[in-house]
Amino acid sequence: MPFGKKVQNKFKNITDTNLLLMITIVVFFAMYIGAILFQGKGFLKPQTFFNILNANASLIILSCGMSLVMITGGIDISVGGVTALVSMCCAVYLDFHGGSLFVAILIALAIGLAFGLVQGFLVAYLDIQPFIVTLAGMFFARGMTTIVNTTPFNVANESFVALKDTRIYVPGFGSVNKLGKYVPAYIEVGVVVALLTVIILFCVLRWTSQGRKFYAVGGNSQSALMLGINVRKTKFLSHLICGLLAGIGGFVYFMHVGSGSASHASGMEMNAIASSIIGGTMLTGGVGNIIGTFFGVLSLSTIQNIVSSAGLDQAWWTGITIAAMLCLFLVVQSVVIARKKKTLKNS
């Protein structure tokens, strides 16, 4: 067998999921190495990488939920609004009412669950387009945030500030600063939550029957129904989990910024969708990988870091670069699908 044909055969055997995942990981490493080469030594410091994680822990959690919904064939654009609502509600509760941290976490989870429940019910059991439902959810959450409180403010609650400032030092990583002192690299509590979410969701999607059901429903809901899968319940569950993760992500976001504001997390839903798509999740459903999503978030935030460290720190550049990247990956996906169909037809 000639070498070319062998490679071609191998290429054919790669599933959509693995192909898109490979593209993502390659893009991330290419971008990071490019950043090190062209942007100087800043990107070589471990702390730069960990700062990307610290700043995007909530985005990782939101994107995981988004990927799950997209694998099941839906979409959820209310996550940014829910994040803003959660951080505002927790901020008001902690600061104005002097509440305890535990109850604040419960509030965050309850808000996320409530959104997931209602949206999941409307999408799964009433057959309404997920986009319409969650668009309304997004506007509702944004509106409610201003109703709860209009002015942005910082939270001064002691136990919360203690949690916010908790730094977990990573052994083995660190850098020497200008004064010649060794500074260990650190991560925030949110990153641990985010990594746990990624691992748990990855395991659930790969090794449990419920996880495989999500893929089956997203790939072809008709044949999933024929296989005896409860399609409605699966769709409902995906939205419910996404809502819950939006609640958790909202609290992690709140932990990172430590304030409540109506303009928080604006465009976050867009970033979450973009990182899921960059991570190889297909919009048509049935294809996706949580690890890919994780790398998608990293790629997205690396590009943001590059843009801001290149001196183009005007806010509009990030919007344009993210949109351009999203557009690119969407087109790549549709080309991949088209090619796959053609090869299937030919064989």
């Binding site: 409307l122 009433l126 057959d127 986009f131 509106g143 201003t146 109506a262 465009g267 949109a323 969407l330």
Partner: protein, 366 residues
């Protein structure tokens, strides 16, 4: 059977006919809102004739506000209805598109100086250029949807995020201000005419659209594509091109709305201009009783829906609802409307109606 029961059956079928009529939903919503306002505060309907700063006669009042601001929404609703019908999805980048179109108008009118004393180009030229730009962006959305087969809302999400940034970039993030009074006519009043100009612009758009729908196959083709894409292709239509063309038409509508928007202020605020208008435009289409998943449409109902939305907005403002909080109330309205129009709920309602009808008949016979 006596004549009485026949008559009652006639009446009930008459009512059923009315209920089935698509335009019934927006009219009912309008009447409901109108009645609510009449009961709560009759002064809502007061219209006063005053004079504006230029000394021209001007009608003002809540109804005029609705006519004024509802018109730009009606223009958008025209394009949005076509897009919805053909592609079964909505364009959520119209707000960002308005920012871009408005930014282009100001850029052409101001030239290099951001505070010119005189206009650097005729307004019509600026408008035409902005039309071309907006149609190009519409074509971008349309190409993604029609040729790359991406869901409309996701494809337009790209411009939704990048649009305002592009608008700011067109003017180098400056805030140009136009002092020429004639530029204010489009969003304000033409001297001597006490009715707001946007209303006339909207009427012109409606007439053009009505003529297009009457004398071309656009309406038929969009509905055919929306109802069943593959069967329309087998009948010799080109579904991708028709989807594409609806997005370009929406781009044109966006350019007109953008001109009105920047004309109101004679300036632009990139992050605030036409904020949340995509929600209103979608709401107008939904309120018009059009299916949001494509297929048949009724343009008149959509346009009426747009004015009803503005009626709702004005009513909410009257009750001192903050502009940022408006979206929460509207979201509830959308959800209620969409839930009511789902097949599951419709079936339940119609079975309920039949039960009631049967009960009535039984009584009359007895």
């Amino acid at each position: 059977m006596n004549s009485k029961s026949v008559k009652s059956v006639n009446i009930s079928t008459f009512f059923l006919k009315i209920f089935r009529c698509q335009i019934f939903i927006p009219i009912a919503a309008l009447l409901l809102l109108a009645l609510f306002n009449l009961i709560v505060d009759p002064s809502f309907y007061k219209i006063t004739l005053g004079y504006n700063s230029a000394g021209d006669p001007v009608l003002s009042g809540n109804l005029m506000t609705i006519l004024d601001y509802g018109s730009e929404l009606a223009i958008l609703a025209i394009g949005m209805t076509l897009v919805t019908a053909a592609s079964g999805g909505q364009d959520i980048s119209v707000g960002a598109g308005i920012a871009i179109a408005g930014s282009v108008v100001l850029r052409v009118l101001c030239g290099t100086n951001s505070r010119p004393d005189t206009l650097q180009a005729p307004i019509i030229v600026a408008f035409l250029i902005s039309c071309v730009v907006a149609m190009l962006f519409g074509a971008f959305n349309g190409a993604l949807v029609a040729y790359f087969k991406i869901q409309p809302m996701v494809a337009t999400l790209i411009l939704f995020t990048a649009g305002r940034s592009i608008a700011a970039w067109i003017n180098n993030n400056e805030l140009p201000i136009i002092s020429d009074p004639t530029f204010k006519y489009f969003g304000g009043f033409i001297p001597g005419v006490p009715i707001p100009t946007p209303f006339f612009i909207a009427v012109i758009c409606m007439i053009i659209m009505a003529l297009v729908l009457k004398f071309t196959n656009l309406g038929l083709y969009t509905q055919a594509v929306g109802i069943n894409e593959s069967s329309s292709r087998l009948n010799g239509l080109n579904p991708a091109f028709i989807k594409f063309i609806t997005f370009v038409i929406l781009g044109l509508c966006v350019a007109v709305a953008g001109l009105i928007k920047v004309s109101r202020l004679s300036s632009i605020n990139y992050s605030v201009i036409a904020k949340d208008i995509e929600m209103d435009a979608i709401l107008a289409v939904a309120l018009g009783g059009n299916s949001l998943s494509g297929g048949k449409f009724n343009m008149t109902a959509s346009i009426l829906g747009a004015y009803v939305i503005q009626f709702l907005t004005t009513t909410l403002y009257k009750f001192n609802v903050q502009s940022d909080a408006l979206s929460a109330y509207k979201a509830v309205v959308v959800i209620v409307l969409v839930v009511l129009s789902t097949p599951v709920v419709r079936e339940y309602l119609s079975s309920l109606g039949k039960k009631l009808k049967n009960k009535g008949n039984v009584k009359e016979v007895g």
